[in-house]
Subunit: 202 residues, 2 copies
DNA sequence: GTATGTATACTAACCAGTGAATATACACAA
DNA sequence: TTGTGTATATTCACTGGTTAGTATACATAC
C-alpha cells in the first residue's frame, strides 16, 4: 500500500525521536521503535538502511525546530540584545522544569557515540550547534561588537554547559545563572564598543 | 589465594575505567572488563554486585584525582585568581588535544544514564561537580566577591560547556575561549568589590 | 505487471548474571 | 610439626533474554 511514503517515514522518525530522546540511543531497540510506530521492524528497515541511519534522521528532524524555537524566544523578548539572549536561557529553564526534559538530544547523542567521531549523527549535531553559533555571531556583528565570534562561542559554551549541568543536578536554576553570565558578557562587549566609538572623531 | 584483595579490585576498576571512559558504559560488556583485567567474569562478580556497581566504582575512583589535578593547575599558575582559574581551562585544552581524550567521564555517564535519575553513578558525578563548585565558591569568597556562589556556578557552567562543545566539535580552542569568559567574569566581580570598597570610609 | 511497501519468521551474536565446584591462606588444635 | 576447618578468592560452564539485521513471501496502487 504505497501510501505517499511520507507518513510512514515520518511516523517512524516521530517514534524514534520520542524513544531515543527519552531513553537514549543504545537503550532503545529497533523493535521498540517499530512497535511504537505501529509497524514491524522489517518495514522500518525498508525505510532506513540501519539503526545508525535512523539515529541520524532523528537528530536531523530536530535541527530546524530547535533553532526556530530559539529564534522565537529571542524575537518575542523585550529589551536589547542582552535581554533577548538572556530570555533564551529563561525559556530554556522553564522547559527544563518539565519532568520529561532530558537535556539536549544532540549533546547526549554525542556523549553516547563519543567513540565514533565520524558518526553521521555527530556531524548533524555539530552542524546544529554551528548554526546556533553563527546566528549569535551575526546578531553580535550587527550590534558592532568587535569580536562577535568569540562572544557567540561563549554564549554557546554557556548554553551547552547549562544542558550538561542541569541534566546532572536536575536543578534548572543553573540556566538562569548562565543567562545572567551571558547578559553580563554581552553588556561588557557592548560597553567596549561604545567606549571605542566615543574615542572616534565626530 | 587471598592476596590482600586490594590489587584485584583495583585492577578491575582500572580496566573498567579505561574501557568505560573510552567506549562508553553500555557499549562495554562485563566480559570485556574482566578480560582486560585478566580474570573471568565470575571473579568480577565476586568483587562487585552488579555492572551498575562497577560503573559507580569507576566514577568514584576518578573523583579525587580529577579534583587534585584542577587544584594543582590552579596552584601552579602565576598571577591572581582570574589568571589561576583561566589556567585550569588552558591546561584542560592541552589535555583535550590528546587523541585519547573523550570529554568528561562524569558528564558522559550522566548523559548515557539520563533515564535513570537516581542511579548511584549519577549521584557520584553530581557530588563531584558540587565539590568543584564549592572549591570555587570558597576561593571567590576569600577574595571578597559579593556573590561567590553565583560566580562559582558560572565557572562550572563554562567548564562543563567546554567538555560538551569540545567533545562535539573536537576543537579544543573552545576551552581557551571559555577560559577568557571566566577571566572576564571574575575580573568584573573583583572590580565591583573594589569599587564598593572604595565607597567605604577610610 | 511492475514499483512500492508491509509482514512472518528467522539467524547469529551478544550480554548480565548465576550454580556448582575448586583452590589457597591462615587460625588453631593435637 | 602436622592436621583440619573456614573464610577468601577464583574458575568453568551455563541460562534466559535481547539485539541488529535478513530471506522470503505477500499485498496494493497505478
Amino acid at each position: 500500500m504505497p501510501r505517499p511514503s511520507e507518513p510512514t517515514r515520518e511516523r517512524i522518525i516521530k517514534a524514534a525521536s520520542a524513544l531515543f530522546y527519552s531513553e537514549g540511543i543504545r537503550r532503545v531497540s529497533v523493535d521498540e521503535v517499530a512497535a511504537k510506530a505501529g509497524l514491524t521492524k522489517r518495514t522500518l528497515y525498508y525505510h532506513f538502511r540501519s539503526k545508525d541511519d535512523l539515529v541520524a534522521a532523528y537528530l536531523a528532524a530536530r535541527d530546524q525546530p530547535n533553532l526556530v524555537l530559539f529564534r522565537t524566544w529571542f524575537a518575542d523578548a523585550e529589551g536589547g540584545v542582552p535581554a533577548k539572549v538572556e530570555a533564551i536561557f529563561r525559556n530554556l529553564a522553564r522547559s527544563a522544569r518539565h519532568p520529561k526534559w532530558k537535556g539536549c538530544g544532540f549533546l547526549r547523542t554525542s556523549a553516547e557515540l563519543a567513540n565514533m567521531p565520524g558518526h553521521p549523527a555527530i556531524r548533524i549535531g555539530a552542524a546544529h550547534k554551528k548554526k546556533f553559533e553563527d546566528w549569535m555571531r551575526a546578531t553580535f556583528a550587527a550590534e558592532g561588537i568587535s569580536d562577535p565570534l568569540q562572544l557567540a562561542r561563549q554564549v554557546l559554551l554557556l548554553l551547552d554547559g547549562s544542558f550538561a549541568v542541569v541534566l546532572l543536578h536536575r536543578d534548572a536554576s543553573y540556566m538562569e545563572t548562565a543567562g545572567e553570565a551571558v547578559r553580563a558578557l554581552i553588556e561588557m562587549a557592548l560597553a567596549k564598543r561604545r567606549s571605542r566609538k566615543r574615542q572616534l572623531p565626530g
